[in-house]
């Protein structure tokens, strides 16, 4: 087996072209899944026997909360790969993740607050799950602030990568916070090893939203990645062709 495919993954012109070709596929698949998931979640799924229609917030809260963790993990892993193997494209991926992750972390916090208000009787509590998720938002914002404070892209890549990698410790803390400490927040009912505790009519729309949001992240990342690559490959010849038209 040859390693050419691996080397191509580190090659900016190859990635730039691949990202451009893949974006519409990701975008339309995500749109179809999210529209289907919305219909299933808002119309087809029956009201919860305890929470009534309030539980429908789950269909936007759980996928955005999942995104907040998944995007951060992607960012930290790419940053680590960039640090260790000095791959420019890897740093470009990490830099592209942050604004997407930050915005959906914000959505997860607000939708959680709206859901919690009627179920727990409060918009906010300094609870382990809620607090660690808020710290995640600050990690994203700190990462972005740090990057924008450093003019030299290569230095910004390295310094911000260290922050991203150190901050990844917060990801398992968020995930397991509801098991480790007494938390207002319920324990996972889908991401668990035993059978999910939900009927299919409720679960299928949720899984569609999970998948839809994940693929949407892919589409957004591909677009941002192209911009990051263009900014890093300032003098490369292939750019002339890429930006013609």
């Amino acid at each position: 087996m040859t390693w050419t495919w691996f080397h191509r993954l580190g090659s900016p012109p190859y990635i730039y072209g691949l990202a451009a070709r893949l974006t519409p596929w990701f975008a339309w698949t995500a749109a179809a899944l999210i529209v289907g998931g919305l219909y299933g979640g808002l119309v087809l799924a029956p009201p919860d026997y305890q929470q009534g229609d309030d539980f429908r917030i789950m269909y936007v809260h759980v996928p955005t909360a999942w995104m907040s963790l998944m995007v951060y993990t992607t960012m930290a892993v790419s940053a680590a790969v960039g640090l260790i193997w000095r791959i420019k494209v890897s740093h470009a991926v990490a830099a592209s993740c942050a604004p997407i992750g930050a915005s959906f972390t914000f959505v997860a916090l607000v939708t959680g607050s709206l859901w919690g208000y009627r179920m727990w009787g409060t918009y906010w509590e300094w609870d382990p799950r809620l607090t660690s998720e808020l710290i995640l938002l600050f990690l994203y914002l700190g990462y972005m602030g740090l990057r924008s404070a450093i003019d030299d892209t290569q230095r910004a890549d390295r310094v911000s990568a260290v922050l991203a990698v150190v901050g990844v410790i917060n990801v398992p803390i968020i995930h397991f916070s509801v098991l480790w400490w007494n938390s207002l927040h319920q324990a996972p009912s889908v991401m668990q090893l035993a059978k999910p505790t939900m009927p299919a009519s409720m679960l299928i729309p949720l899984l569609m939203m999970f998948l839809g949001f994940t693929i949407m992240f892919g589409a957004l990342l591909l677009v941002r990645l192209r911009a990051e690559i263009l900014n890093r490959e300032r003098t490369a010849n292939w750019i002339r062709e890429a930006v013609a038209s």
Partner: protein
Amino acid sequence: MNEFLYMGGYAAYVWPSYGLTLVVIVLNIVWARRLLARSREEARRRLAMQGEET
């Protein structure tokens, strides 16, 4: 239809949640596209200036 909008009395919590999610999705699409358009424009300008120098 009214019953659907009423959301069993939880309309004030359900709809803002969905509304915010939708707004942030749209903003993400707009931001990403604008970022790419700007980077392309910048690269084009840079290359034009290089062309003049040589």
